[in-house]
Symmetry: C2
Subunit: 350 residues, 2 copies
Amino acid sequence: MSDTTCGATDDSNSNNDGSDTETAIDGGRGGETATDSGCGGETATDGGAATEAASASSSACGANDASNASSCGASKSATTDEAVGSTVDDFDADPGRLVAVGLGPGQPEGMTGRARATLLEADHIVGYTTYINLIPDEVTEAADELYDTPMCGEVSRTEEAVDRALAGHDVAIVGSGDPNVYALGGLALEIVESKGATASALDFEVVPGVPAAQSCAARVGAPLVNDSVSISLSDHLTPMDEIESRLHAVAAEGFTVAIYNPWSRKRRENFERACEILMEYRPADTPVGVVHGAGRDDERVEIVELGELESLGETDLIDMTTTLLVGNEETYVWDGRMITPRGYESKYDY
Amino acid sequence: MSDTTCGATDDSNSNNDGSDTETAIDGGRGGETATDSGCGGETATDGGAATEAASASSSACGANDASNASSCGASKSATTDEAVGSTVDDFDADPGRLVAVGLGPGQPEGMTGRARATLLEADHIVGYTTYINLIPDEVTEAADELYDTPMCGEVSRTEEAVDRALAGHDVAIVGSGDPNVYALGGLALEIVESKGATASALDFEVVPGVPAAQSCAARVGAPLVNDSVSISLSDHLTPMDEIESRLHAVAAEGFTVAIYNPWSRKRRENFERACEILMEYRPADTPVGVVHGAGRDDERVEIVELGELESLGETDLIDMTTTLLVGNEETYVWDGRMITPRGYESKYDY
């Protein structure tokens, strides 16, 4: 297991695929020493994201300065001529294109050829600062403009991308992982719709990428080879009782489970509840792949047992940069790898 | 929606990500005019795959000649010095490396940079003929040897890859999609284990790729943006009562559902049962993305309603090359795209 990643690679507060969305909404947190102070999430919620936007600076909010709760959700910086909140009628130009691009695991080599080609064709590239920084220089240098904001501006950043496309530019909006996995594909479409524009007029496309579940799974072997579920423990956009109900449903069946956003100081209870629910249905020695800070300097990959998972919530191993891969009843550990059989062995003699 | 793919691109009988595995086991079928005759699956099951291997020819079994039920499962062709069924003790050489590489959507531009680099470094590239053919010439030409077999030889082909690595070669075994999604990641590890070798000695790695669920989802917009499930309707390796139980469990919750291997003539009943189960829990107007033959000449992408899905089983739209993307109760269709909201709209005003 060497060089790929399934998250972001800087030291700021990031997460695997979809994290941009999640952490933006949940508010920035200060790296390992997470706190509930921060910006973006709370501020945007209180103030109404549609009339606010992240400042265009790339200084982090919620990254290294957890006490800085004001730099996100501030008034919009004048980086385009169009006001945020504008509708399709405010634009005279022939619209450009809008493409939601999944960057995959978070390092340039995890990007597909199509993602790279799409970025090279774009006039403007829009995204969370961390992800923009992951794009190779020769790609970003080919763009006319980059628009990057810290994680706290998910909604306003996406609106900015839509406005730029409506203003006639070919725009790529980027995120790690895949745009369909807790990420910006749907948000972009929702904002296009809210502006009275159409996806067709913007020739809207989604360029898929490798999701965090897959890139993290690869690091521990073959944990997800059978029917599998992705579930997020963030209760910011989904009520916790629904999350619990979903966990009950899938834990009772033979699904392997990829858990996104397993833990934050604010959501310690969610992680504990998830562990308890899984333990109701699966043996304590069920293998769980734990991938922390994938691709970052503090990356750690461990295979643990379900019975010890809850106690690990107190350690640095599990935070918002962690993805969990929970085996099913057939999953076993061999030579440092998790293996979930597909059933070949019962059919074939080898 | 233009150019990426989530399946194979030739005219032979292939399927999306994981299909290699699935169709290999279920037996080849003759393209659109599927039949239950074929080879591989049945033959291998009857005969014991471990002592058999696909012939190394790239002529298709089950591709265009559905009546050809004999060319798979034949005795092993002498492409290496080692007999299939050998164990680690049969090899004198220092072992080489074994890497399971996900090619992604099935066209070169869907491959990650890391997948490409890994293939360029490999001495031998092993895979289903269809997928080997998808790799750019400049990559395959850099390899010392290609070993490709028709779809019917999944187990024996994987064993061949392991044997070649044990014999000292650096081997890449390839499949479409991701090695963790109904694919060869686990099988490779199981075979390494069965031979008394270790994954560590072979420096075994998995290079992730874009799964079919993601590349097909991209074609219909943003259908999978919330918690999601992948489930295969193939009952060859999983009993149908388990599949049904899983469908009940997830349909009752808010999961979006990506359905792999939805239909074959042999498994018409499974598809019908799946439709019936989904209809027990979700409204008839629930959007379902249907992606048939992605990346092939006969590609078709449609968004239909759940209530009409079962009747489409009688049409060419749904076969083993089709992936289904079933929305949840919040999924809607707008401007030709499926959108599954994440809940931003209830939190933010836009």
